[in-house]
């Protein structure tokens, strides 16, 4: 079926206006995109880790979650909470206590803190147990809800409030944890990395595939944050596009271990173009720090080569 954005945005909205997320934040757009990929007749239960998304979308007595049920418990346990919901669905179905007409899908949302750091154990456990859930990490690359502290998803040399660019250290001195690859190694049937790119076809199709694949599936979504990254709110689409075009955030998916790069720029845009839009990388443009940009470029090139290699290897039937 051809992807027509106009038709897609007219589908049933399950995350409605009234929430308090910032202008220029990717998270609400991501949530709406993911939930729009549900078949209209299906029901969903959404579990959200403590995060900007949670505290801004369900402020008593209001909720932005519509045509789906929502639960928030704590920071590190969106996955384990959802695994309890999913197991109980199976239990109540099996014993005939639940008489739902339609299928129910189980989706978790967490920020990078709630996913790659404090929530990692619960996530890893839920994937190992094989619950039929989709976990979506909206990765804004730091602890934004508490005021831009570094996370293990914060990229190399980014300036955050706990990895500040100072006289001695140029922002975060460590490289980020490669969460997409880590989730691939959980033998998930479907893991994908996506972003709000162009007409949102990529995130729509990957979300649909993740939600309708049996077993635990994972989406790592690039989620720019205007407050923490320091860009103009109207530049959300532009910054997302640059992340992909520079290969800072490659769009790819891994289906049963087989890699597919969904977009290969004919010519990679230099990472500098992506970095210079954001205050968190401003210090890299000082003359004495410029070599760090080269270092970032090298890391990006290396990862890109790795993905090309993985695509080649995993698609070679003779191997």
């Amino acid at each position: 079926m051809a992807y027509i954005l106009k038709d897609i945005v007219n589908k049933k909205d399950r995350f409605v206006s009234g929430h308090r997320m910032c202008a220029g934040c990717a998270a609400p757009v991501i949530v709406r995109s993911v939930l729009r990929s549900l078949n209209d007749e299906d029901n969903a239960v959404v579990s959200v880790a403590t995060s900007c998304l949670e505290v801004s979308s369900c402020i008593y007595p209001y909720t932005s979650w519509d045509h789906c049920s929502f639960i928030h418990t704590a920071f590190e346990c969106a996955a384990s909470t959802l695994s309890g919901v999913e197991a109980t669905y199976n239990s109540l179905k099996k014993t005939g206590k639940l008489k739902n007409e339609h299928e129910t899908k189980f989706i978790a949302f967490g920020g990078d803190g709630g996913t790659v750091d404090i929530g990692f154990q619960a996530l890893s456990g839920a994937f190992e147990r094989g619950h039929n859930i989709t976990y979506v990490c909206y990765d804004n690359e730091a602890y934004m809800n508490t005021g831009t502290q570094r996370s293990s998803a914060t990229p190399h040399f980014a300036d955050t409030t706990t990895s500040p660019a100072g006289e001695k250290t140029p922002g975060k001195v460590q490289q980020r944890k490669d969460m997409t690859e880590i989730m691939v190694k959980h033998n998930s049937p479907y893991v994908a990395q996506t972003a709000l790119y162009g007409n949102l076809k990529d995130i729509h199709e990957k979300s649909h595939k993740a939600i309708y694949t049996d077993g635990p599936t994972y989406l790592n979504v690039f989620s720019p944050c205007p407050r923490g990254w320091g860009y103009n709110t109207e530049d959300l689409a532009k910054i997302s596009k640059l992340a992909v075009d520079t290969c800072f955030w490659p769009l790819y998916e891994v289906e049963n271990g087989v890699y597919k790069l969904n977009y290969k720029p004919i010519k990679k845009v230099p990472v500098e173009e992506f970095l210079k839009m954001q205050k968190r990388f401003k210090h890299l443009f000082k003359e004495e720090n410029r070599y760090l940009i080269e270092e970032i470029q090298k890391e990006i090139d290396k990862k890109w080569e790795y993905l090309l290699m993985m695509e080649k290897i995993t698609n070679n039937k003779e191997n």
């Binding site: 384990s80 695994s83 197991a87 109980t88 014993t95």
Partner: protein, 392 residues
């Protein structure tokens, strides 16, 4: 039906008879056997339960919360560090008013690591909003587990069923089991209302509350706990009808005409009853009060039952490091003060890390409080029942 079962086995058997929709648990000594026995029921198809072998106690309670919010009848089991690791989620379970039943085989907290019994774990979470039922022996652990389901669902509150690690969890005793059919009729089917899986009426749970709503919801939680007193009594009365076994908020043993009283939780109450029988043979009027329900706490009737005593010993198997007293003492003496009851009361911290408590120790306690009752001298309120190691 008579059986010979360990405490853990008795509780697991109760769980089999309950046939919950979901069980999520993580092994920890001494409660490990509960999920272990239960897994075999799942593997052999004798229950319909979905068992979630979670990777931690934090996830165990999180999964229980998700499961109960989804509409399921949900159970788990833990001890000690496991309960401590759940701490955060216990408050979420009660705050969301979910009827989860958590089995707690009481064990000491680290450090130093120690696997034996005291009550530091459940006392450490006494204000988390769980109803807490304490059990003297295997029979009570079994009975409380069955009643807990009904209490939780009526009160819309989670319930913790506590019994002593090893002393109760691993000792084999004769117990009386109910027919599974009788248990299932007693607990009935869980009502499905306001649940996540309702496709006709979606709900949102676990919102952010601003100050005004937060306080309101906390008051509602406290009120629910207060109302749970009647529910505990009501369910206990119904249970009496099917079992012939009487339960209340607390139990008394030869307390009516007693001059000297003692208060203790769980298995120590059994040791005390034995000592009371002996002292009574010698004409010393001693009696016991054993709280069964620590949350909610019966601060009206407990002091009433103590009012004729000349002196009283309250035994705490948990310390409050440099607090005025252990938790049981502070709760009971506060209630006594409120009732203007002036009975000389001593707090004994005992049995930490499973340090043995014997009949002789109980006798010494009585000797001391009898002495205190006869003297006008000031006395030390907080004491430790501990004999220095020989040769050290």
């Amino acid at each position: 039906m008579k059986e010979r079962l360990s405490g853990n086995e008795a509780v697991a058997t109760a769980m089999k008879q309950i046939n919950p929709d979901t069980v999520a648990a993580y092994p920890i000594t001494p409660s490990t056997e509960v999920p272990q026995y239960f897994s075999s029921f799942v593997a052999n198809g004798s229950v319909d339960t979905e068992f979630i072998p979670v990777e931690s106690e934090h996830s165990a309670m999180s999964a229980c919360i998700g499961a109960a919010a989804a509409g399921g009848r949900v159970m788990s089991a833990t001890s000690s560090q496991g309960l401590a690791y759940m701490f955060e989620m216990l408050y979420v379970a009660s705050g969301l008013r979910l009827p989860i039943v958590l089995i707690c085989a009481n064990r000491a907290l680290s450090a130093p690591i120690n696997i034996h019994n005291d009550h530091s774990d459940s006392m450490g979470v006494r204000d988390c909003g769980f109803i807490q039922l304490y059990s003297e022996n295997n029979q009570e652990a079994y009975d409380n587990t069955i009643m807990a389901i009904k209490i939780a669902e009526k009160a819309h509150l989670p319930v913790m069923v506590c019994y002593d690690g090893f002393i109760t969890s691993h000792s084999v005793e004769n117990i009386e089991l109910l027919d599974t059919k009788v248990v299932r009729e007693f607990i009935g089917q869980k009502k499905l209302d306001e649940y996540l899986l309702d496709e006709k009426r979606n709900i949102s749970m676990g919102p952010l509350d601003v100050q005004e709503y937060y306080f309101k919801h906390r008051i509602e939680l406290a009120e629910a706990m207060e109302q749970a007193k009647d529910i505990v009594k009501e369910v206990s009365d119904e249970f009496y009808k099917i079992s012939g076994r009487k339960y209340d908020m607390f139990e008394t043993y030869k307390l009516e005409d007693a001059e000297y009283g003692i208060i203790a939780l769980n298995s120590t109450a059994g040791t005390i009853k034995d000592e009371i029988d002996e002292l009574r043979e010698n004409g010393i009027k001693v009696g016991l009060l054993k709280p069964r329900c620590f949350r909610p706490f019966d601060y009206i009737n407990i002091p009433e039952a103590l009012k004729n005593l000349k002196s009283l010993a309250i035994l705490d198997k948990a310390d409050s490091v440099n607090g005025f007293s252990g938790p049981l003492f502070s709760e009971i003496t506060s209630a006594m003060y409120y009732k203007k009851l002036n009975v000389k009361t001593v707090n004994y911290i005992y049995g930490l890390g499973g340090y043995d408590i014997k009949k002789d120790d109980i006798k010494k306690v009585f000797d001391e409080i009898i002495e205190i009752s006869k003297s006008d001298k000031e006395f030390k309120v907080k004491r430790y029942i501990y004999n220095e190691m020989e040769g050290k």
